[in-house]
Symmetry: C2
Subunit: 344 residues, 2 copies
């Protein structure tokens, strides 16, 4: 039981996670939106077969029919970013290939035929890309990828055409957010072919000061160059966030007060909404990162985030909870998991 | 070291304290506002001499010249209601007679020559009156009280004329406050010759939902009758508050959430204002009263209230603290004193 989000990673005091996603399609089948149910089944079988030989050591792959999961199980997978929100709906003839550590998830039957996704804790773009490429090569051995010498990989949406690569880094930027600096940052970033967004991707709000920076351009640029651009921009943002923390909270006692109060509420609340929990956990993360809070690590917080979403709470309670019941259960989980936080 | 506020008392889940105050003047001296410094000194000496023979067992009396105390020491005495705010100013030729348990305080040189004050935890009007009468009798033996057969005791302000008695009960009324029922209560109470006010007496705001109910009428009514009227009104208010608690917080979990969150903030804050602390302690008191919160008693809370006022914090730190320093020190005291609160 060593899930990827419980591992340490580079700069994991500010970078929550790294994700590499490769979009691939088979030339022998029409794009997803035009496929018949039979063709969808055929696709799933082909991917399953192609992955039989892959060797990932202990990190074994499981093959999960999406329609074998309950609504709340699928929602919980969205909450951990294991699958996309789009992949959750209409689960017929969709296959999820998931590794034991949950760092590898291959969605078969999303917008593209195949979406290879690799997650890492902290800023680990190259390591994630290496694993994604390994899986890509295994699939490429037996599957006939839709590929054009001129355009590269063909994808359902033209924004993915070329490398089919989306590299994303999730950052915790409470000080830049507090300073109102996110819009300025977004404008700078967009000039470099990158984009910054809220937690669940395009158009979504930031949750607990978590922002995702990812590459926009997939055409006319190599995988390596795209990843390198992103890496250097993320490093700059990390430095900016660290500077902003000194400017936004010049009096250490004021920040300590906010962090400890957040812990006090999380350790004692009997009912708590998801939104409030994320906001308070954001301050805890800041406190851990700034060396204020003993007895808790960013890994604890990473693990906790996977347990307090509406889907995860219903899944773990094995029943559909009302909003009030969810708030009670969420508060109970937080009290339990943060029991020793703050103690030296 | 058993201060009066650390003792249990009747209905002490809702009644914080009972106070009896008797106003007395000597016929041989003009009223306080017209006295020369020499006459004030003479008054202090007379009271001192008159109290030499009193026997209160272990609860020995101390004689404290008010000008021997620092500003913060005097302020701390106001915060615990040991002296009146008026008695704090112009400390020359004012004498405080204070018992070891701090339940008896005799102010010499307040608005009236002598103000005998007796405090009790909970609703203990008769017991407090008994002790006040004992002291009154001792003083009466050697001093020549200003007394008229027709009017009773003569006082500086006509509102005290007659018995010179002010009997007050401090109640914790969070539910009636929350329900917006205090104004209605005030109107009912005033028709019965009683009054309800905020924490530090007339014109002051309620602090942490604490309200003082006291008698208004001193003329044409016996001490016993005044106290009995107050007793029966307070008993009605206690019943009303208990009913209101069920109506205001019909869902136990919502109230538990408020109580535990208050504890979480008090146990973790690094800076806290006096106002916020009193508000949160009010919820703690409610939690103790409702059986929600283990590991803490109303006596703990009573004791705590005497330690977190601006005067008490400066006195105990032995220096003048800035507002920020006071907020830090107050937070530290609260963390220390509430360490085990909430634990079973």
């Amino acid at each position: 039981m060593s899930k990827w989000y419980l591992n340490p990673g580079s700069n994991d005091d500010i970078v929550l996670s790294t994700r590499i996603r490769l979009a691939r399609n088979l030339s022998s089948l029409p794009f997803q939106s035009r496929m018949t149910p039979e063709q969808k089944k055929e696709l799933c079988q082909k991917v399953r077969a192609a992955l039989q030989g892959v060797n990932l050591g202990d990190n074994k792959l499981s093959f999960i029919e999406m329609n074998s999961l309950s609504d709340t199980q699928r929602l919980a997978l969205v909450e951990t970013h294991t699958i996309s929100p789009e992949f959750m709906d209409s689960p017929e003839n969709k296959l999820l290939v998931l590794s034991k550590d949950e760092d590898i998830s291959i969605m078969v039957g999303e917008e593209d035929h195949i979406r290879i996704q690799v997650m890492r804790s902290g800023l680990e773009l190259n390591d994630a890309l290496k694993t994604a490429d390994l899986l890509d090569n295994v699939l490429d051995e037996t599957l006939d990828y839709a590929f054009s010498e001129q355009l590269g990989f063909l994808t359902a949406c033209p924004t993915n055409l070329g490398t089919g690569l989306r590299a994303s880094v999730m950052l915790h930027l409470p000080a830049l957010e507090q300073a109102g600096a996110i819009n300025q940052l977004a404008s700078t970033i967009s000039k470099l072919g990158l984009t910054i967004r809220g937690t669940y991707g395009e158009g979504s709000d930031a949750k607990g000061a978590q922002y995702q920076i990812s590459n926009q351009i997939t055409l006319g640029i190599s995988e390596e160059m795209a990843v390198q651009n992103l890496q250097s921009m993320v490093e700059q943002v990390i430095a900016q966030e660290k500077n902003a923390r000194k400017a936004v909270w010049p009096q250490p006692m004021r920040l300590e007060d906010i962090v400890w109060r957040s812990l006090g509420l999380l350790q004692n609340a009997r009912m708590i909404s998801g939104k409030e929990a994320e906001e308070l956990l954001s301050y805890l993360r800041l406190g851990v990162s700034m060396g204020i809070l003993p007895g808790v690590t960013v890994q604890t917080l990473n693990g906790l985030s996977t347990k307090i979403g509406a889907g995860a709470l219903c899944r773990d309670s094995k029943k559909n909870l009302s909003p009030d019941e969810r708030d009670e259960k969420r508060a109970a989980v937080l009290r339990q998991e943060l029991q020793t936080a703050g103690r030296t």
